[in-house]
């Protein structure tokens, strides 16, 4: 059974939990799922086992605290320490999918902006500047994903943490990241050799890349 099927089943079966147990379990789940380096398959399997256990325990009148203890974070950390890491090949495919997707959107955005600006000069591509810009966007995206997942796992077991606080942090990061990209692309415009890439071609390649990343996703899950 694949990880995606387990996730789907998990979503359905979670509805069988009482409110208290659901809260306890969902925190465990978020905390474990946001550890990106772990094997997804193994993580989902143990999450499904724990959910099954909780549902059966619930029938016998037990609470999540009685089954998994009063220290959910400590318990989750113990589970995580025994989970195997995701294998390199899968990580590589996943990262490639995201990179192809990002570059695809980048080209499509470009094909939308150029006709709006309407100048022939903007169809010139500066190879070095463009590569730097794409690299910057990737780095910021990677950090963003890491930060947001970090925020989710930090706030999982923190009763005082509000979603609002986390939202503001994530929002600030988004705004900050966007400003950096804007400033960067304003100052680093014309480096390296150029070639002309008409917006129609940009649109075509961009769409193709999105299609490829979608196919990789299909294959992956």
């Amino acid at each position: 059974m694949k990880a995606s099927e387990l996730i789907e089943q998990n979503n359905q079966k979670r509805m069988l939990l009482t409110e208290q147990n659901e809260k306890y379990y969902t925190n465990l789940l978020l905390y474990i799922r946001t550890k990106l380096t772990l094997s997804e398959q193994q993580s989902e399997e143990v999450l499904m086992e724990m959910l099954g256990h909780l549902i059966e325990g619930q029938h016998d009148g037990k609470t999540a605290q009685e089954i998994f203890g009063n220290d959910p974070k400590g318990y989750a950390d113990e589970i995580i320490s025994h989970l195997p890491r995701e294998n390199k090949r899968k990580n590589f495919i996943f990262v490639s999918e995201i990179v192809i997707n990002l570059v695809g959107w980048f080209l499509i955005m470009r094909s939308i902006i150029i006709p709006i600006i309407g100048s022939k000069a903007s169809e010139e591509v500066y190879i070095i500047s463009s590569l730097l810009l794409i690299l910057l966007i990737m780095v910021l995206t990677a950090f963003g994903v890491k930060m947001i997942f970090g925020l989710i796992s930090q706030t999982s077991f923190d009763e005082n943490a509000t979603d609002k606080k986390a939202m503001i942090k994530a929002g600030l990061y988004g705004a900050g990241g966007f400003s950096i990209i804007a400033i960067f692309s304003f100052f680093v415009q014309e480096i390296g050799p150029t070639f002309t890439l008409p917006w129609q071609v940009s649109l075509g390649i961009g769409s193709l890349l999105l299609l490829i990343s979608w196919l990789i996703k299909k294959y992956r899950t």
Binding site: Q9, N10, E45, M50, G52, K62, E66, E78
Partner: protein
């Protein structure tokens, strides 16, 4: 941590392997069986880290099977490595338990007879 749970921690792997050897079980079943033989203070959740570790060390393998009522269950069975490990643990336990029993349970008698 109580003395009891410290002692148990060292031998819990062996207990889990012994239950799995008899027949393939899934998590909830395993915790029921451990409680039934008298290990009532093994809190149910503790078996999952143990199961993960045993899987990682290839002593057991798990297989997801559908169930009519609840979510899919993961049934565990021993690998040949696991069988060897269980045998070793049993032998070690027997070698340890005899002298320890003599020391701890019959200690008073020994002193009295001298």
């Amino acid at each position: 941590m109580s003395i009891r749970s410290q002692l148990l921690k060292g031998i819990l792997d062996g207990c889990v392997l012994a239950v799995i050897e008899k027949e393939a079980v899934y998590g909830y079943e395993l915790s029921k069986k451990l409680q039934k033989v008298g290990l009532e203070d093994v809190s149910e959740g503790t078996i999952y880290p143990v199961l993960l570790r045993l899987q990682k060390n290839k002593l057991i393998i798990g297989e997801m099977r559908p169930s009519e009522s609840g979510p899919n269950r993961k049934y565990y069975s021993l690998t040949s490595v696991g069988k060897d490990a269980l045998e070793t643990i049993s032998t070690e336990w027997n070698q340890l338990s005899v002298p320890i029993n003599a020391l701890l349970s019959k200690g008073d008698e020994t002193f009295e007879s001298e």
